[in-house]
Subunit: 118 residues, 2 copies
């Protein structure tokens, strides 16, 4: 079985883009709400908002747009920029497992079956 | 400038292989000592040994061999398996930046110059 991958990029402007922010973007796309997306990840409302604000500030165009209030209590969705960032990050993750298959196969073949401590 | 990359793999037998263990292996290769390698990473002696023991147990062949005592107070070095694991991991890291250049360029071009909070 393929190993689980975590990929994290730290950009020149200080933005750290990793599985947490990518999953949050995906959750917002799927749930239509920042708080619901955060809840799904067992993340506090405050933290989910903070991550969204960090991402919005780190890109030229915001990744998430939200509307407060209204009958349904406000919602959030990804902008085109948000969809693009999420797609590029997922593409990078998929690429590692695909193009890195030779290295991963070599490492996997050297592993013992004994459960490791960490 | 290329972003800084962190790559972490969690294998079926529970082994987590990431920058910490890779840097420790590299330090052992360069310093000839587990404690010196740990010191370089500001890691306690105990933790460095623990990580080495985890890695040795997780692979069919140990990655690090150490000799205690002797005139120089014992040393450590990578086995062939250790050299191979380090090389495959570094190769995977380099591959991500190389083959992932299109995705990374797209993401970088969307970033603002404003320093992000995180």
């Amino acid at each position: 079985m393929a190993p689980k991958l975590r990929l994290r990029l730290t950009f020149d402007n200080g933005l750290i883009l990793g599985p947490g922010k990518a999953d949050l973007l995906q959750g917002i796309a799927e749930e239509g709400s920042i708080s619901a997306a955060g809840r799904r990840m067992k993340m506090s409302y405050k933290r989910a908002w903070m991550l969204v604000e960090d991402m919005n500030a780190a890109f030229v165009s915001p990744l998430v747009e939200s509307s407060r209030g209204g009958q349904k209590g406000g919602g959030a969705s990804l902008t085109d920029a948000g969809e693009a960032v999420l797609a590029e990050f997922r593409s990078l993750e998929a690429m590692v497992l695909e193009r890195g298959a030779p290295q991963i196969a070599t490492l996997s073949a050297m592993l013992s079956d004994i459960p490791a401590q960490k």
